[in-house]
Amino acid sequence: MISHTGKAATVAGYEPRVASRRITGHIWKWVFFSSTALGIVLLIMLLWSVFEPGVGWLSWHLVRDMPSRVPEKAGMNSAIWGSIWIVGTSGVVSFILGLGTAIYLEEYASQNRWTNILQTNIANLAGVPSIVYGLLGLVVFVDWMHAGRSVLAGGLTMALLTMPIVVVSSREAIRAVPLSLRQAAYGVGATKWQAIRHHVLPAAFPGIMTGIILAMSRAIGETAPLLAVGGASQVLFNPTGPLSSFMVMPLQIYNWTGRPQAAFEHLAAAAIIILMVVLLVMNSLAIALREYFSRKNRW
């Protein structure tokens, strides 16, 4: 009775127009597909513009050696270790402070006008230009705290920058934990902290990890705040502690692209490839951790 095109058997008062409704659906599908495709094409072009000049200059000595004025001898060992120190410091600090803030706001603070204002402003912080964080870090950490132009100052500045991301994503993860799970914990006589520690946080952990991954990815690519805090452009040794001076990969790349010799441009491209590899490795570790925990906790 009902044909595939919907032309037959119309009931009085209805105008089903199934064919045109289906066409509308198809049009939207293609709109969404082409926006995805555009992004992918641009990404491929970007990757190609890096790989084409850079891939021939990839070598172990680039990873192992220190920077040099001679392109053939120049490496980025100090920059790689500097980035790891900076991202590590900022990751630990923003994890502790960001998660702590998220737990307080979500579980303990009463929901009123002030916490609403606070929440909006934390989200807004994620949109503040990164150089502003750099200047703040210069004043607070480098000058007031006398941390100097060190890993500590750079890491803390980067933690300021990434904390809003951690707070917002952790809050969402904590809020997504079903009420029934909390009730189950309270129902057997758990205190608030026992319910949070044993049930809410493990259930929210995968979401929290996603926030940390995003934050670390942002931190490893940031240049401007570290320029302000004083990541040096030539460091010929690796950081040995929180108060060492440092150099990071994006700064090294920036430095090389500014040099007159054409060879340094190829080196910069090769360095970008290495930066992306380091980023991928770090993210894979975090994702593996997340998967491990989400497999452990399913409701």
Binding site: S180, A184, G187, V188, T191, Q194, P202, K296
Partner: protein, 298 residues
Amino acid sequence: MSAHATVRNDTQETGSRPQGTPSQAPFSGIARDLVSGPHPDPMEHEVILDIRELNVHYGDFHAVKDVSLAVPQSSITAFIGPSGCGKSTVLRCINRMNDLVPSARVDGTIEYQGQDLNSRNVDPVEVRRHIGMVFQRPNPFPKSIYQNVAWGARINGYKGNMDDLVERCLTRAALWDEVKDKLKESGLSLSGGQQQRLCIARALATEPDVLLLDEPASALDPISTLKIEELLRELQADYTIVIVTHNMQQAARVSDQTVFFSLNDDRQGVLVEAGPTQKIFTNPGDSRTEGYITGRFG
């Protein structure tokens, strides 16, 4: 009860249903269960929970008005009534679960072993260990079956042999035989009915005196429901059970005492009638109770 005069008489408003059966035998289907079932007179037992003048507000909304009720020890009390009549709210007052709702305000007294549970200096965490709760939808922890039972005991400082406790609770919850070979597996791998019995075992692990069940079988199939009901009958010797149910046959089958809640004209939940289950289902004292249990409204 004091709101008698203000409550609209639903039985008269909704008279559209065919009333073939005369009033002397309107409950025949339910009454048959009653004849065979074990229904000792609940009033023979000592009162364990004495609720007086309980009022609950959610913000400006007066959800429960002037509820007074005595729950006898080692018996099953069923709360029945239409949706939104406050029966779950009253249940959640008994173990202070309403403390978790920021807008809730509870007035009145709930006396338990001579102590007012509602009093400011009573710690709700301590209350919930003595008055356990099972929820509408099975909500086992995303942990192993063993841990589901052990966790509540452990956080409450249980010092005895944990393996024995877990076995004892699972046995009492009529689940041991089904899970004894897979205690390490996730509680969520069980079927809905098994999960709910796991939740009962979890509640038993803190060795409570009272078990509150909020529509424990509403998400379960009939066979699982029957198992839960049999289980409640077995537990009744050692525990005082209060169960909220939408299913009147269930109330008739399992409970010793039935409490009927309804809404008054201001949409406030009120207690209409409480009494031995047999009496409520065969000879209710209030026309609203009769209207509800015969299916004429609600």
